[in-house]
């Protein structure tokens, strides 16, 4: 009975913690759905970010999955893997180097269950990697919101 109460308490506590995180939402991590997004940054870097819905977050919190997830960047055309990274499930973001220029890529996120089975959890949108090209000098350090830079550079 005591053990059950203890287990119940831990579960209750876990859920309460998750709710508190949902309410404060400071980490941006636990939002409404399980999603991973891929954005282009430049020819050397994609930006990848992910969010978890409540039930998946609870599954990670309850250690149904290992705490490390595998983020795999693949070329859409031939499914060739161009990069992998193992990161904590709640780290929420990652920069990865794209493969050869111009290739369209997507990201898959895998979790490993306690029994060792790997499970595909998320699949991103697809994005073409920008082609490296020397930008004109005028491109450096200016953008439309430059209007607001109120201190000397």
């Amino acid at each position: 009975m005591f053990l059950m109460r203890g287990k119940f308490s831990r579960l209750f506590l876990n859920r309460l913690l998750i709710r508190i995180r949902l309410m404060s939402d400071k980490t941006n991590l636990i939002l409404s759905t399980d999603k991973v997004y891929l954005l282009p940054r430049n020819p050397s870097a994609f930006f990848i970010c992910w969010t978890w819905g409540r039930s998946r977050a609870e599954a990670f919190e309850a250690r149904e999955y290992e705490s490390e997830i595998l983020v795999r960047l693949s070329v859409c055309e031939d499914k060739a893997v161009s990069g992998e990274a193992s990161v904590r499930w709640d780290s929420g973001k990652l920069y990865m180097k794209p493969p050869a220029e111009g290739r369209t890529c997507s990201v898959s996120v895998y979790g490993r269950r306690k029994d060792g089975a790997q499970e595909k959890l998320l699949e991103s949108n697809s994005v073409a990697a920008p082609v490296p090209a020397p930008a004109p000098e005028t491109s450096s350090g200016y953008s439309s919101a430059e209007f607001f830079r109120k201190e000397p550079v």
Binding site: Y37, P40, R41, W50, P134, P136, S139
Partner: protein, 534 residues
């Protein structure tokens, strides 16, 4: 003399939507007041003077939907009038204080004229500065284009539905504001990726502008470089920015705006004057800030405290010299392209409008001088609007531009980096929820309140996607405000969507949001419904 080449001059006028009717005085609303007094009114005055003297400006202006909405906002108009009155009161005191100092009083009189001109124009158009722009376009003197609804960097919108919503809302907004269909679209931050083509075409846009490396490194690279227009596979025409003419105008380091005789932007009376003297003109928090009265010139690479007083006559002489130099360089560029490539080039200069007047105080005078000289000197160059150029040029060659922007390093680094990337999960997740809700309700008969709530949620999502927030976080200027805007719009949209799903819309909350974030009056949330479901 027949024209040997064409010049396209595009001024991109944009400010993020900042409207806080709940406050009588709100710091970030000053961006709008400064923009109106120092840039938009001086530019309209330049265009009016040219037209009055029989000179057709022939330039293009992009007015962002957020700026357009602020220019039409009656509460902001009232605050703007108060801002101008307050500055005129300070200038009156300054005229008295400096009456025995001929150097300073000459500069103060310059500001008196600037603010009196602003007050007069606002009175003339009853506060609505869209009217003179509309009149100039209607008479064929300028061409006005638009940009994405809230200036979102389009390649950073992961969802095609969001792309479509940003573009389609801008097209509707333009039609409502200018009473004609927009043909030109300014890609915010010149940020291009091939996905935009489809939605630009769907919304009826005919041309866009890209950064030069989008065209110069296209596959295959065109022989005529950035000196011709091109056409994408689905028929969108492309103009590419010319790096040379951009650098001369744009760069504070290498370009005209850095000349020692021009007005110094960073030395401002708000920091120099006796605190008690200027206190009535500061914001409610009483902190020293720029007041827009700047009495010094750039002088050279010296400390701000060592800057010399500004001499308006000397600055105007420099303007004339720079305008002549600009045209001389363009003529040489045209001659060289004509002889080496056998083409009649088009040179495309794209600039932020706020560079002219706000940052580069003499910018409007420079523009006026260039446009007058081209006529007076009978140069074989012609200022044309993009639409005119497309009507008169040969069939453009096909081209697939490269992914690019005009930001630092030529891609998207300023808008996605460690200083601001935390906003993306939130904005993207919110967009997902908006799309899901739009799909769920798109075919339903909705009560008026539910419809209003969904439309307002769509407004909030669009506002959260603005490029200005991550950029402000990146440069560390007003970054807390920027972060609070993303959080605020995301929270507003999330609450509205939840209330719609739970059938318990808080009408007071909804009404307050409709008053505050009151742009895109006929926005339909269904713009966010999945593309495949249309």
């Amino acid at each position: 003399m027949s024209s040997k080449g064409s010049l396209i001059f595009l001024l991109h006028a944009h400010l993020p939507y900042v409207n806080h009717p709940e406050h009588t005085d709100f710091l970030e609303e000053n961006w709008f007041f400064e923009g109106v007094v120092e840039t938009y009114i001086p530019l309209i005055s330049v265009l009016d003077r040219l037209v009055r003297d029989g000179i057709r400006p022939g330039i293009a202006i992009s007015v962002s939907p957020t700026l357009g909405a602020m220019l039409e906002n009656e509460q902001l108009e009232k605050k703007l009038a108060r801002y101008i009155d307050s500055r005129l009161e300070l200038i009156e005191k300054e005229l008295l204080r400096t009456e025995n100092d001929p150097v300073l009083s000459k500069i103060v009189r310059l500001y008196a004229r600037l603010y009196e001109e602003a007050a007069a124009m606002i009175h003339k158009y009853s506060g609505d500065l869209i009217t003179p722009l509309k009149q100039l376009q209607h008479a064929g003197h300028i061409e006005i284009i638009t940009t994405s609804a809230t200036h979102a960097v389009l390649p950073l919108l992961a969802h095609p539905e969001a792309l479509r919503a940003q573009i389609a809302a801008a097209a509707d907004d333009y039609f409502d504001r200018f009473n004609i269909k927009a043909s030109g679209f300014w890609l915010p931050e010149c940020a291009y990726d091939p996905r935009v083509q489809t939605y630009l075409k769907l919304s009826g846009f005919e041309y866009i502008f890209t950064e030069s490396h989008a065209v110069n490194f296209a596959d295959p690279a065109p022989g005529t470089g950035v000196y011709a227009s091109y056409r994408t596979q689905n028929g969108i025409n492309i103009f590419a920015r010319d790096a040379d003419s951009s650098r001369e105008v744009w760069s504070a380091k290498f370009g005209y705006p850095g000349d020692p005789s021009y007005r110094e932007f960073y030395r401002d009376m708000g920091y120099d004057a006796d605190y008690d003297y200027i206190k009535p003109y500061l914001s409610a928090d009483g902190l020293r800030r720029s007041l827009g009265l700047k009495y010094h010139r750039i002088t050279g690479e010296v400390d701000l405290s060592k800057k010399l007083y500004y001499d308006p006559d000397e600055a105007m002489a420099t303007v004339e010299r720079h305008a002549a130099d600009f045209l001389d360089r363009r003529m040489r560029q045209v001659e060289e392209l004509h002889s080496s490539k056998g083409i009649r080039p088009v040179i495309v200069g794209c600039y932020d409008a706020e560079l002219f007047g706000h940052w580069w105080f003499e910018g409007p005078a420079f523009l006026e001088s260039v446009l007058r000289k081209i006529r007076a000197d009978r140069l074989p160059l012609q200022f044309v609007t993009p639409g005119e150029y497309l009507n008169s040029c040969h069939e453009p060659a096909g081209l697939n531009p490269q992914i690019s922007s005009w930001g630092e390093n030529g891609y998207f680094d300023p808008w996605v980096n460690e200083t601001n990337d935390a906003i993306y999960p939130r904005v993207l997740d919110l967009t997902d929820r908006m799309i899901e809700t739009a799909n769920r309700f798109r075919s339903q008969d909705l009560s008026s309140v539910t419809l209003r709530a969904l439309n307002q949620a769509a407004r909030e999502v669009l506002l959260a996607q603005s490029s200005d927030w991550p950029f402000l976080m990146y440069i560390g200027s007003h970054s807390q405000y920027a972060a609070s805007r993303v959080d605020g719009h995301a929270a507003n949209a999330a609450r509205l969507l939840s209330e719609v799903l739970e059938r318990c819309v808080d009408e007071k909350f909804l009404g307050d949001l409709e008053k505050k974030n009151n742009l895109f009056h006929r926005l339909d949330f269904r713009l966010f419904a999945s593309v495949s479901k249309f």
